[in-house]
Amino acid sequence: MKDRVVITGLGVVSPNGIGLKKFTSSIMKGQSGIRFIPALKDLSFRCQIGGIPSLSEADKTKFLHKHGIEEVFSTGITYGCIAAAEAWQDGGLPFCGDSEDPDYDSGCIFGTGSNGIEATHYGIALRESGQDTRKGNPKALPQAINSAVSAFIAKILGLGNQVTSNASACNTGTEAILMAYDKIRSQQAKRMLVGSSESNSPYVWGPFDSMFATAHGFNDRPEKASRPMDKDAAGFVPSSGAGALVVESLAAAKKRGARIYAEILGGHINSGGQRGKGTMTIGNVNGMTRCIKNGLKSCGVLPGQIDLISGHLSSTIGDVTEINAWVRALKRKGNDFPYINSMKSMIGHCLSASGSIESVAAVIQLYHGFIHPSINADQLHPEIAALISHEKVPPHLVKDVDLNVVCKISFGFGDVNSCLVLKKYSE
């Protein structure tokens, strides 16, 4: 009999709140974390707004010092480590001492799309200055490797099982959770710290700006720019941050008397193959539909059982494709469609970090029994309005709702998809 898998710890560094408490209150209020960013204007970006977690220099320094990783200067690695340490502590787990043996039962899958960028830039600048490369800071350079974030997390927590970083563009965070679920189900680990993070840097956002993927026309109204499902949605708002979760076997969680936030029932990871209408940058609706169907099939959940969808919904034309995929997969529409909301309406698109931050939000809603507002969806895009009732996209907080099953979906460049099925925990 395969063990059940549960979530026992959460941590988050989001543009609208750092730490679970602040984040929970922000998402209940529908608070936007999107701001005008003068540096982007100076660099002649088309889109001059974004989401950056308001981490103070003092808090950052204190955190890095406490964990003996003062050399970290990449924002993505910093966000990732802070979220991971919060999740671990929230899960009631001990930090393994420096002289102790690694914990071979606990591992880490923590993804990123571009965390090394600050270190890469540092190395390039050093090279271009024509200086001796050895004049540089030797501890800066290992941060350029993609897996640096998971390596630092493992050091802080003392993790001895698999320690790695996955990357599948904006699908990364949700994929990491499902990969950890597989590790635990197949008894290769008892517990995995999972999540993802993304650096805040114009070098990360620049390529998206140049390909016309980011929001245009909202530089003077930053909080209105991210408007998933709305008829005026005009591109995603780039942002940054990190989300982290402790995923654990039910037996291990029970043994140590851990609080259980939710159960992971199953899910599915696939790709649309860049076939049909899918391309490198646009998802194939067949792949998405299949991902949802197989995610439900993997755990025997029926379409009618879904209470809430935490969408990918990035405020682009992809929103229409996504709603189509859900309607096709669930055969539910209009008033019969489940509630659906978009975390990106408040915090923009945290790219690789999005799947994990949004999964943290999904778990919080499931556990506390509320549905956060999906802001700025003032008038649904006509093709979306033709499929689902506007009432299913709450503009305000829905309190005291009995949520039993929540689905989280993410998509990414490369035509990749993942769908996670979460359930309220019961014996």
């Binding site: 088309r46 390596a151 008894q187 460049f413 490369g414 990749v416």
Partner: protein, 435 residues
């Protein structure tokens, strides 16, 4: 895990400093050639180490390849190497590309293709434009090359991958990790075929990072004093080993369920028995750049246990062996984990003696070499190991570290890889018998 699902290797592909394409690579392995060269550019850029190993590619090969597959404006060398190796492996396995007119992807085939720094070429390009206020000139094809998962995303589109499509990254164990992740996915019945591998860009900024990096106190990472004698620079297990030689390239394997391979009558290079992925958590002597020695030993034990292989069954160790003090630590870990030494120690060899250290690509190149040795029943040489490090000579008989290729019966190969972040890995391959 489904105990009855077996996983086999049915395709290989390689883009390496000693040869691109399986036939060239096999010939170079048997011959024992070095792919390490002197690079004037590295000198001009004020690096200390001026030697490195770039993939051997014919003039125009990259241009032809990118044109054939419609890869417009490719900047990422690592992405191209990965696609070249990946597609070679795919075709080598007798598989086909899904027609572009198809609306459904190939749902049973996945791809896990890792890298450490493939985006660097595109990032460097992007940084230049952003700094100059020219972000608009970057164009629509930079984001997908700058992102870590660029290589898997390109491969997925060319092939039509419909199962999991992702990029893993765990520094120098990346390729081995990709193989074990693919193995797990097939074993769990979630995919029939998974294309696995890894690649690394040959951008000078990748190597520059290592040039200025200290692995431990006052020890810089790259080989010292070999600028005039590049082919001697990578000398794993030798007393003269004093740093790694940077390299680049890509390696790929098609892993497949035995059932699927037999059904389509595929050629089988070998069977994957299992393995282990752990971390030393940067405790007990382990740091970001040096491994915890206890975990180096433990990972071998875990891999044997998972694969149900006894220490005495191992015929050949394909080492990580990067050409510095880690070589000694690794041989000690093997001797302890297996309880074997002297003439009883298995054969051991280091591909890095020929290719340098291709970072993320290294372990997939070494897995391709392992599969070829299993299939061809030979053991490739470890160049430049004439004078063994005394602590290695004390543990392993000279005969077990061949200086020239030898024909031998090889039934089981064990491959280790270690990496920054104190990560350790080991995988076990077995010869395939048709009878």
């Amino acid at each position: 895990m489904r105990k009855n699902t077996r996983v086999v290797i049915t395709g290989l592909g390689v883009c390496s400093p000693i040869g691109t394409g399986i036939a060239n690579f096999r010939a170079a392995l048997i011959k024992g050639v070095s792919g390490v060269r002197y690079h004037e550019l590295l000198k001009q850029q004020n690096y200390r180490c001026h030697i490195g190993a770039l993939p051997l590619l014919q003039d125009g090969a990259v241009e032809r390849f990118t044109r054939d597959y419609g890869l417009v404006k490719m900047k990422g060398t690592g992405i191209v190497y990965g696609c070249m190796a990946g597609l070679e492996a795919w075709f080598d396995a007798g598989l086909e590309l899904l027609p572009s007119r198809d609306r459904q992807a190939d749902w049973d085939s996945g791809c896990i293709f890792g890298t450490c720094t493939n985006g660097i070429d595109a990032i460097d390009y992007g940084i230049g434009l952003v700094d100059a206020g020219n972000v608009k000139k970057m164009g629509g094809r930079t984001a997908q090359q700058a992102m870590n998962s660029g290589v898997s995303a390109y491969l997925g589109g060319i092939i039509g991958i419909g199962n999991q499509l992702t990029t893993n990254s765990s520094s120098c164990i990346t390729g081995l990790e990709a193989a074990l992740e693919g193995f797990n996915r097939i074993k769990q019945g979630k995919a029939k075929v998974v294309l696995v591998g890894s690649s690394e860009s040959s951008h000078h900024n990748v190597w520059g990072g290592y040039d200025g990096m200290m692995l431990y106190e006052n020890f810089y990472a790259l080989a010292k004093g070999y600028n005039q004698d590049p082919e001697k620079g990578s000398c794993p297990m030798s007393v003269a080993a004093n740093g790694l030689v940077p390299g680049s390239g890509g390696g790929a394997l098609v892993l497949e369920s035995l059932q699927s391979a037999l059904k389509r009558g595929a050629r089988i290079y070998g069977e994957v028995l299992g393995g282990s992925l752990i971390s030393g958590a940067q405790r007990n002597g382990g740091t970001m750049t040096i491994n915890n020695r206890k975990s180096m030993e433990d990972v071998i034990g875990f891999a044997l246990e998972r694969s149900a292989v006894r220490p005495q069954d191992i015929d050949l160790i394909s080492g990580h062996l990067p050409s510095y003090i880690m070589d000694v630590y690794e041989v000690e870990a093997w001797a302890k984990a297996l309880g074997r030494s002297g003439r009883d120690f298995p054969y051991i060899n280091a591909l890095k003696s020929m290719t340098g250290h291709c970072f993320a690509a290294s372990s997939s190149l070494e897995l391709v070499a392992s599969a070829l040795q299993l299939q061809g029943q030979f053991i490739h040489p470890s160049l430049n190991s004439e004078q063994l490090h005394p602590q290695i000579a004390a543990l392993v008989s000279r005969k077990k570290i061949p200086l020239r290729s030898v024909k031998k019966e090889v039934n089981i190969v064990a491959k280790t890889a270690f990496g920054f972040g104190d990560v350790a890995s080991c995988i076990i391959f077995k010869k395939w018998r048709t009878d």
